[in-house]
């Protein structure tokens, strides 16, 4: 009752009413402040839910007023309750800080073609920013990890720089048809980049972005260098993949950018399996510098002993001291993969203390990411002074070949006698390995019953099943695949096999099975070793849809591809006698196969590509991406291969000769508007097939397993009422894509063979240019 006495000022008579009066006034003040606060919040709510035009300033000022009133309420409460410490203050402080932190994440950077903020609202411009930024955003989208604020200087921004500095001219000698010294040309380009004037628009955008990142008083952004797979040594002057700009004059920043571009502009290629794109140009990422805390690197497997089942964690400071992230740091912590909480020897970092929960958390997060990519990863984490962890970099872990070979041999022995349902029957849609419960599905069935991580087993694909894609670990189809299934499997990285005979009868519902869509086996029960082996695989050429493109094309046009007979004269490319051998030779150097028509048209248009051959229907270009770009001498066989006059003696010659003979390509497709398909066969040489709708069709055919390319397409000539199918049998048509000028259809004949779709899809017109257009670079 003491507070009541105090409240009413019961005590001395002359004080009673004064105290009561004061308290009532204070109480009234509190209530008014509370009412104002609630009114403000209601007003904000109304403005946000209504059709109002408001700006950031309104939000900031309104929220400021809300907090002002809230603090007032807290103060009044403290006075009324005679509290020495008002608990509301720290709570309000914390809330205010969280609100401020949230407001800071609003993209202050104006988006445009030159810069894209990190993290963006909807990172749809992954084709402009390259793999690393795209991977970072993918991690954020998946909710796996946050990334620090920053921005990406896009490929488009870099191209603007080249254009305005007239650097494209350095490529001119390569298109004259004469033998030329590639090294000299690219050295000139590298030198030119060091002296570029950065376009004012790009400069202004970068300046604004840097200022916005520094607005909260933190240090200036760090610059992430695009890791080049071609360089084994670190860049001169930049011993670490990230470099922190110390602030100060922006002149030093411009110099840094120029050096970066000069060094890595064409060496930044790295397979982006998740996106099917291979940006050749570096995308520079500047991120808010994360400072104040510890930084860690995590390798989800010990690359030297992957069978040990350990996660390695090291401090970034130690790695920096050792000079490179590619070398093992001197100190590391090991966690058990099976029980991430269990920390193994040697002595934990920091002498037995340190932040164990933090390290466990990072190890667990890293495993989640590994599960997504299905590959062992090396991930760099940084911590800010509030203890928040940020993902700085992610890449596939480089497992030595000898280690992988040993593991492969063990697996091979293990699987020899393992019971299996199917052996190399069916068509692989997307590669990968998965274990789970087989779940039979029919159209119209209740999808909520599908088990988490289940393997979808069905007679044919139903597009409605896209809804349960997050739960699916693998897909098995009895009948042929559709494009929609192919796209789903590729985009979500779900192993899938189609055209498996008798699937529904052979694999029992709810049986535990292992799907090996790498080598095309379906095993009984769970084969853990296979899952473990998958982690060791790096990027494989066969993983990429683009490789399937090549595979499909070659099956159609090169008879020696399957038989191993015939082919080019020996000695053309290190003794390759067939295209298959040529591909295998290329794969020993190969990094990836590239297919990105939309993004790389400019390379042909801007004449970065050297024409090396072609006939009526295809143009072949080559770009030397050798280390000559950075000043090194290219390999001699490749140097010979890219010269136009000599290309006919290489194994690649039959490709375009046979392509010209396909009935599909009776019309010339070469035009300025066509989009090329790019194939990288080596690190150094990029061979380009120029086509448009054909490419889309071929890729579809290769992935979805449409047989006999030359019987399943048709075209319509201008003015014709009906299409001329490749076959006269009745059937149905499916538009596969194309450009404004040309479209291509797949025609399936009704009959005994299984089709992936029974619906009549929309028709579009197919028009082909009748006139042959000369190869502009002939």
């Amino acid at each position: 009752m003491s507070w009541l006495h105090k409240w009413f000022g019961l005590g001395k008579r002359e004080d009673t009413f004064l105290t009561l009066k004061l308290r009532l006034a204070r109480w009234r003040h509190l209530l008014r402040a509370e009412e104002s606060c609630l009114t403000l919040l209601g007003d904000i709510r109304e403005k946000l839910s209504g059709e109002y035009v408001l700006d950031r300033q309104y939000i900031l000022s309104s929220l400021g007023q809300v907090f002002q009133k809230a603090y007032q309420v807290a103060y009044d409460m403290g006075v009324l309750c005679d509290l020495k410490e008002v608990q509301m203050y720290p709570w309000l402080d914390g809330l205010k800080e969280r609100v401020a932190a949230y407001l800071r994440t609003w993209p202050l950077i104006k988006t445009g073609p030159s810069l894209i903020p990190l993290p963006g609202n909807d990172f749809v411009k992954s084709d402009q920013v390259g793999e690393m930024a795209a991977e970072l955003m993918e991690m954020k989208r998946k909710g796996l990890m946050d990334i620090p604020q920053g921005f990406v200087i896009t490929i488009q921004g870099f191209l603007q720089l080249l254009h305005e500095n007239k650097l494209n001219g350095y490529f001119q000698p390569f298109f004259s048809g004469r033998k030329t010294d590639w090294r000299e040309g690219y050295q000139s380009l590298a030198q030119g980049l060091l002296q570029t004037t950065i376009p004012e628009e790009l400069k202004a955008a970068i300046q604004e972005a840097i200022q916005s990142l520094s607005r909260d008083g933190e240090s200036c952004p760090s610059l992430i260098l695009w890791p080049s797979p071609l360089k084994s040594e670190t860049l001169p002057g930049f011993p670490l993949p990230t470099w922190t700009w110390p602030g100060g004059s922006l002149d030093s920043f411009w110099d840094l950018l120029r050096s970066l571009w000069s060094e890595v502009y064409l060496l930044g290629a790295k397979p982006a399996a998740a996106y099917g794109r291979y940006p050749l140009l570096s995308a520079v990422i500047c991120q808010r510098q994360i400072s104040g805390g510890e930084g860690y690197g995590v390798q989800t497997l010990d690359p030297a002993h992957p069978e040990g089942g350990e996660i390695l964690l090291y401090r970034l400071a130690d790695a920096a001291a050792s000079g490179s992230f590619n070398r093992r740091p001197s100190q590391e912590i090991r966690f058990s993969r099976n029980s991430v909480g269990r920390e193994l020897g040697p002595e934990p970092l920091g002498g037995g203390g340190g932040n164990l929960p933090k390290r466990q958390n990072l190890a667990q997060l890293s495993l989640r990411m590994e599960n997504y990519f299905k590959r062992a990863l090396e991930i760099l984490w940084e911590e800010d002074r509030e203890g928040n962890d940020y993902l700085r970099q992610l890449r596939f872990l480089d497992i030595p070949l000898e280690v992988r070979s040993v593991a492969a041999e063990k697996i091979s022995l293990l699987l020899k006698g393992w019971p299996r349902y199917y052996s190399q029957q069916g068509k692989i849609i997307f590669r990968g390995i998965a274990c789970g419960l087989a779940a039979h599905l029919k159209p119209g069935q209740d999808l909520t019953l599908f088990p988490e991580g289940g393997i979808l087993v069905a007679r044919e694909w139903c597009p409605g099943w896209n809804a349960i894609a997050p739960k699916i670990s693998a897909i098995l189809m009895e009948q042929g695949a559709s494009s929609s299934l192919a796209f789903l499997a590729r985009s979500r990285r779900i192993p899938a096999i189609s055209q498996i005979p008798g699937l529904m009868e052979k694999i029992p519902d709810h049986a535990v099975i292992t799907v090996d869509a790498e080598d095309n086996f379906i095993y009984e029960n769970r084969v853990d070793s296979l899952l473990d082996a998958q982690l060791l695989e790096g990027h494989r050429l066969e993983d990429e849809p683009e490789y399937l493109l090549l595979d499909g094309v070659l099956r159609a046009v090169d008879h020696s591809y399957l038989t191993g007979e015939g082919g080019a004269p020996p000695g053309a490319l290190e003794g390759c006698r067939t295209i298959l051998e040529g591909i295998q030779w290329a794969r020993r150097q190969a990094m990836a196969v590239l297919f990105d028509p939309a993004a790389w048209q400019h390379l042909v248009r801007d004449q970065w590509a050297l024409p090396v051959g072609g006939g009526n229907h295809f143009s072949i270009y080559a770009i030397d991406l050798d280390k000559a770009l950075a000043g090194s001498k290219p390999a001699a066989p490749l140097q010979a291969a890219i010269h136009r006059a000599e290309i006919s003696s290489t194994p690649w010659c039959p490709i375009w000769q046979n392509l010209n003979n396909l009935p599909f390509f009776e019309r010339t497709l070469a035009s300025q508007e066509e989009t090329p398909i790019f194939l990288i066969f080596t690190e150094n040489t990029l061979f380009l097939f120029q086509s448009s709708a054909a490419g889309k069709f071929i890729i579809d055919a290769a992935i979805t397993g449409v047989p006999e390319l030359n019987h399943l397409f048709f075209y319509r000539e201008e003015g014709e009422q009906e299409a001329k199918p490749g076959t006269r049998r009745p059937g149905e048509s499916r538009a596969l894509g194309g450009t404004d000028k040309t479209s291509i259809y797949e025609h399936r004949s009704f009959g005994k063979s299984d089709f992936d779709t029974k619906e009549q899809l929309k028709r579009s017109e197919l028009r082909w240019d009748r006139e042959h257009k000369n190869n502009p670079r002939s």
Binding site: K47, G50, Y52, V53, L54, D55, Q57, Y58
Partner: protein, 135 residues
């Protein structure tokens, strides 16, 4: 006089242009949206707009300067000021320098449309739609 009302919107907050542009276009006007006051000024020197809607507080150049530039080019153009800092002093200065009207953020697009219609009627335009007209 052109058939369609020519409107320029200037606000350094992208969201404002994104909301107002379509809303005013649906009235039957031709709208150009700018975030950069320098670029907006360049455009104002190239073309005479019927109505200029500008924010008051912007970096580098503020709305009052824009108002002065517009009035020096064309007394005919009606300038409407929008601002998140609604004070009597700001209103007095803007109206004193020839602004047609003054609207405070946050506002509904319809509120601005009413002001635009009044400005258009003052210019002699008739028949502007007060609601969304079919495109």
């Amino acid at each position: 006089m052109e058939n369609k009302l020519q409107i320029l919107i200037l606000d350094d907050e992208p969201i404002v242009g994104k909301r107002l542009g379509p809303a005013l276009t649906k009235m039957g006007s031709e709208v150009e949206v700018f975030e950069d006051p320098h670029k907006a000024l360049e455009r104002i020197h190239e073309k005479t707009f019927d109505i200029v809607v500008t924010d008051i507080r912007m970096e580098d150049i503020d709305g009052i300067e824009i108002l002065e530039h517009v009035k020096s080019r064309s007394n005919h153009t009606k300038v409407i000021m929008i601002t998140g800092y609604a004070t009597v002093e700001v209103a007095r200065e803007a109206l004193g320098k020839g602004a047609f009207d003054f609207i405070a953020k946050p506002f509904k697009p319809n509120d601005l449309r009413e002001v635009i219609i009044r400005a258009a009627e003052a210019l002699g335009f008739k028949g502007l739609s007060r609601t969304d007209s079919p495109s």
